[in-house]
């Protein structure tokens, strides 16, 4: 099964289980959780089921294309089920079968692994799903997002697409994956990995101080603009600026440009934005509030 077949299979499976098939958020994010389809939709009482692929950037994991397992950017297949159905674990296992993984032939386990995102003010309880000793999925019951207790609780299923594809294709390097017939992951991604890693670790033709100063300045400007947008009642644009801040912080961090006390301060700044956005979103979607434009 090619990389793209895997995406198609999972999309078809979850569409058949009532999920809206969405597209990735068109911004730099570290995980599918940052997508508005997760971060905002899990707030409030309204049922929502959605699935999408999310290219996810982790500057700190960049390895210049040299490491067979670690990537600056990997792909998640993200499923949100709100409220979390009673049969959610069983349905998830069926999705693996749909991808050609027969649970009777393998050792599949749910091992404790709780998830937390300090920048999003979010945490949940759940497992990493292990397939013959390999972590292939993060399975989380969200408890809090944007500092807000959730009711109902949503289930988040995050498949690690590269990991699963490597398992199915039996390859030892991510770059050997077949993305489509005759096209390898290397063909599609290697150059991006090399250049993005260099960028993420500050290997740029400018003094390190200037690199750091530039990113700090960018952070501050996006941060200030997010506040302005939030004050203007533009919740979704404000959230996008918040995501920009989160990504810039990650770059600063991997480039070693953040001191230790500053680090906490940066995280707090992003979290305060995220919490502000979540609260504003809930207020404006409460019963009686005007319907938001992005509603179907």
């Amino acid at each position: 099964m090619t990389f793209q077949d895997l995406i198609l299979k999972l999309s078809a499976f979850w569409a058949a289980h009532g999920c809206l098939i969405q597209q990735p958020i068109d911004l730099e994010v570290g995980a599918g959780t940052s997508h508005v389809e997760t971060f905002l939709r899990v707030l409030g009482p309204r049922p929502w089921s959605v699935a999408y692929v999310q290219p996810s950037r982790r500057p700190d994991d960049g390895r210049f294309g040299e490491n067979p397992n670690r990537l600056f950017k990997h792909h998640q297949f993200q499923v949100i089920l709100k409220p979390a159905p009673d049969e959610v674990q069983q349905t998830y296992l069926e999705s693996l079968e749909a991808c050609g993984i027969d649970p009777r032939q393998h050792d599949i386990r749910f091992e404790e692994d709780n998830w937390e995102s300090p920048t999003l003010g979010a945490w949940g309880i759940g497992w990493q799903v292990m397939l013959d000793g390999q972590e292939i999925t993060q399975f989380t019951y969200f408890q809090q997002v944007g500092g807000i207790d959730l009711s109902p609780v949503s289930a988040e299923i995050t498949y690690g697409l590269e990991r699963i594809a490597m398992f199915l294709q039996k390859v030892d390097s991510v770059y050997d994956l077949e993305w489509a017939p005759g096209v390898s992951y290397r063909d599609v991604r290697l150059r991006d990995e090399i250049e993005q890693s260099k960028y993420a670790f500050g290997q740029v033709n400018m003094p390190r101080e200037a690199f750091v100063a530039l990113h700090r300045e960018l952070f501050d400007r996006h941060h200030a603009f997010a506040r302005t947008l939030l004050d203007s009642g533009l919740v979704l644009p404000a959230y996008e600026q918040c995501l920009k801040c989160s990504h810039l912080f990650n770059v600063l961090d991997s480039a070693g440009g953040v001191g230790v006390t500053e680090r906490t301060a940066y995280i707090l700044k992003v979290r305060q934005l995220a919490v502000g956005v979540a609260q504003a979103y809930l207020q404006t979607t409460a019963p009686g509030a005007p319907e938001e434009a992005s509603d179907r």
Binding site: P45, P47, E66, N67, P68, N69, R70, P83, A84, P85, D86, E87, Q89, Q90, L93, P103, R104, Q105, H106, D107, I108, R109, F110, E111, E112, N114, I125, W127, L131, D132, G133, Q134, Y141, Q143, D149, L150, S151, P152, V153, F167, K170, D172, G256, V258, G259, V260, T261, R263, T264
Partner: protein, 747 residues
């Protein structure tokens, strides 16, 4: 007829580390609630668990609650009736509350006089009728390290029911019949896909395996025996011991086939063998191999990757060397297929390739060059970064070696080890395998060609992690590095304690997020066992070391990050904390409470010199069996009390003493007292206590013949001074009045 009670809470996978505790709680809460419901079980509450279930069984239950009879007192008779004999509103109200007339009330005598009372009699209800209340209460009683919201509610008036993981089914049988019980769902979640969880005569087997029928289907059961049998058919071994034994058996068999054995040190020390039975419902072991070239990685990296990251058991040869093989415990039936083993091999190989990558990349940067990067890693939010900690460790380890241990010859090495000790925190390997902190730094330091005392000191500096006398490292592990290591180990733990207390951290109850108790145990253990560990016999002044460590917080503070101001309360809190930990350490080593109290109450330092405290405890234990010592301990309670009566400064010249008994005691004090002091100065405490026990006849005679509290103030104060001096002489070493004597106990 007594009937069986069977409860199974079917859950999604509970964390393995919680399972033993939850199983115990489940049984205890059921037993307690049954007692409170007045249906005490006729035998123990048996408990069972797997990752997906908590089960309890009581073989025989009474059929009815015990009847109740209780006397409820109302108003005093004096206040119950008017002069006319009519009941007062108080009496009438009390009777009405219980639904009877005033004439149905009884009179009872109480210490406060006669009162009206109502005798309540209640016939016990049928067990089947009260059991639904049991389960709701037990579910509420369960405490989890982390509570989870899952949109569940109980109709017990308390609303939401949090739990460890979602509950998916409830098997609840009494005498083979279903006890009705339901967990409701919150308004927000209720839908076609989110429904009530109702009790039924149904359980579920393994997710993927069954001997017949579809795996994962509902299985009807009527009794515990049937329940257990059907679970076995459906690949669930209910008893943990059975899973444990199957794992142990198969591990041995596979290891033998590979020509080696399971590294017991690895399996037991890491707790892996204790963890895996709680990760699976039906364990089977598979064997895999890895490329021999990975054996060039440090053994610590290989075993940590296998054990902590993959839950794999390393295999060692007959001579104890790692073999390129591993054993994995799976939650399946081993069917001879190599698929799972091959996949596990690929995962491990990927991890080891990563490790190899880290190992090569890490060695391109010297530890020394990593030290500046430590200022980007937070140690404590109020105290600062690991950069500042490295600066403190360099100076404190030097001070420990040179000043505290009197070994200036190793001071430079200790300082270097201190500066580099934390540098491995910013290596890729330790970021990935945090369990290897310390060990990895030692390995890299060795690869850089640093002297053995330095790399070995770094390697073991997080140890000891426990207070026991045989806790690692051993003297053999340390070799030439012993003194350097002791200086670094003490400096690191002391700095963490002092800095954390300065930052406002105080461990309380089960809350100890920085692991300060373990730090204290490690610190005190090194000092208590300093001669055995490092061959250092000279006294060590821990109080002085603490002052030095506290001063370094200011001296090494980072720009813009002033250390929190010191306060007497902070110092006192740390003293109390260390004292508690040192008492704990000595208790662990089998010293009696009264012995520890005696030494802790001495004038001479307790936490100020932990090794000296140990020597005095050992001396007491040695001398204690002698009758004179025990008798002196008894006499010393009087000595102690009397010495407190001295309200003036001790008298210089005791010229008024004339009674033969007091002159005899004075003479004993002068001669014997001098010898006691000399022995104490040599730290020969057994001899000191033996000599002190010799005071006994003179003390006894003094108390028999001399009346101390005479009206003549001058004479009285001289007598009190003699008693006070005697007390001071002995309490310098131990407050032996704390010793609980056999003589007293037998009295």
């Amino acid at each position: 007829m007594d009937r069986e009670l069977l409860i199974e809470i079917g859950t999604e996978e509970l964390p393995a580390s919680w399972l033993p505790g939850l199983t115990r709680q489940f049984g205890e809460h059921i037993a307690a609630r049954l007692g409170a419901l007045r249906i005490p079980p006729d035998g123990p509450v048996e408990t069972y668990s797997t990752p997906r279930r908590l089960a309890a069984r009581v073989a025989r239950m009474p059929e009815r609650q015990a009847d109740v009879e209780e006397l409820l007192t109302g108003p005093a008779v004096a206040a119950a009736f008017k002069p006319t004999g009519e009941p007062t509103p108080a009496a009438a109200g009390f009777a009405r509350k219980h639904g009877v007339g005033v004439d149905a009330l009884e009179r009872v005598e109480t210490p406060k006089g006669p009162y009206l009372a109502y005798r309540r009699r209640e016939r016990g209800r049928a067990t089947a009728d009260v059991l639904p209340d049991l389960l709701g209460a037990v579910l509420r009683d369960m405490a989890f390290p982390k509570q989870m919201h899952w949109d569940a509610v109980l109709d017990d008036g308390r609303g939401e029911l949090t739990f460890g993981r979602p509950i998916r089914w409830i098997l609840f049988l009494y005498g083979g019949r279903v006890v009705p019980f339901a967990i409701g769902r919150s308004e927000a979640a209720r839908s076609g896909l989110v429904q009530e969880v109702r009790s039924a005569a149904v359980t579920y087997g393994h997710r993927f395996l069954a001997t017949s029928g579809r795996a994962g289907r509902a299985i009807k059961v009527r009794s515990f025996d049937e329940y257990r049998a059907r679970l076995v058919e459906n690949f669930v071994l209910l008893e943990r011991a059975e899973r444990h034994d199957k794992i142990a058996r198969e591990l041995d068999a596979h290891a033998q086939r590979l020509g080696g054995r399971v590294s017991s040190a690895a399996a037991v020390q890491s707790g892996l063998l204790d963890e895996v039975p709680d990760l699976v419902e039906y364990p089977s072991v598979v064997a895999g191999t890895f490329a021999p070239e990975f054996l060039s990685l440090p053994e610590e990296v290989l075993t940590t990757t296998m054990i902590h990251h993959q839950h794999f058991f390393p295999v060692v040869s007959a001579t104890g060397r790692l073999m390129p093989a591993f054993l994995a415990v799976t939650n399946t039936q081993a069917d001879g297929s190599r698929t799972i083993a091959r996949n596990c091999e690929r995962v491990l190989a990927a991890r080891l390739r990563d490790a190899q990558f880290f190992f090569e990349a890490d060695r391109r940067t010297r530890l020394e060059d990593r030290v500046p990067v430590l200022s980007t890693v937070l140690f404590h939010k109020k105290v600062g970064s690991y950069g500042a900690k490295a600066a403190r460790l360099e100076r404190l380890a030097r001070h420990c070696a040179a000043a505290a241990f009197g070994r200036p010859d190793v001071a430079d090495q200790a300082a270097t080890a201190g500066r580099l000790a934390k540098a491995d925190l910013v290596t890729d390997m330790v970021r990935e395998l945090t369990e290897l902190q310390g060990a990895m730094g030692g390995i890299y330091a060795r690869a850089e060609g640093l002297p053995e005392p330095i790399w070995r000191a770094i390697y073991h500096h997080y140890l000891p992690a426990a207070p026991e006398a045989d806790a690692p490292p051993s003297r053999a592990d340390l070799g030439e590095a012993a003194v350097t290591w002791a200086a670094l180990s003490v400096a690191d733990k002391l700095d963490t304690l002092v800095a954390s207390f300065a930052g406002g951290e105080r461990p309380t109850g089960t809350r100890d997020p920085y692991g300060l108790r373990r730090q204290a145990h490690g610190l005190l253990k090194v000092l208590v066992d300093l001669p055995e560990l490092a061959g250092i016999g000279a006294p060590v002044d821990l109080d002085a070391l603490r002052r030095r460590a506290r001063a370094l917080l200011d001296e090494c503070a980072e720009p813009g990050h002033a250390a929190p101001a010191a306060s007497p309360a902070e110092e006192a809190d740390l003293t109390t904390f260390l004292e508690e930990r040192l008492r704990f350490l000595f208790q662990q080593r089998g010293f009696a409470y009264d012995e520890i109290n005696a030494v802790a109450g001495a004038r001479r330092a307790f936490t100020g010199d932990p090794h000296d405290a140990r020597l005095r405890l050992e001396a007491i234990r040695l001398v204690r069996p002698s009758p004179d010592f025990e008798a002196l301990a008894v006499a010393f309670k009087r000595v102690k009390n009397l010495s407190r009566e001295l309200r003036v400064e001790p008298i210089e010249t005791l010229d008024r003493l004339a009674e033969p008994a007091e002159l005899a005691l004075l003479e004993e004090f002068r001669t014997r007292g001098g010898l006691v002091r000399q022995a104490a100065a040599r730290r020969d405490y057994a001899e000191a206590f033996r000599l002190a026990a010799g005071f006994r006849p003179a003390v006894d005679r003094f108390f028999t013949d001399v009346f101390v509290m005479v009206d003549d103030a001058a004479l009285r104060d001289q007598r009190l001074t003699l008693v006070w001096r005697l007390h001071e002489l002995v309490v310098e070493l131990a407050d032996i009045s704390e010793i609980v004597s056999q003589l007293e106990l037998n009295r």
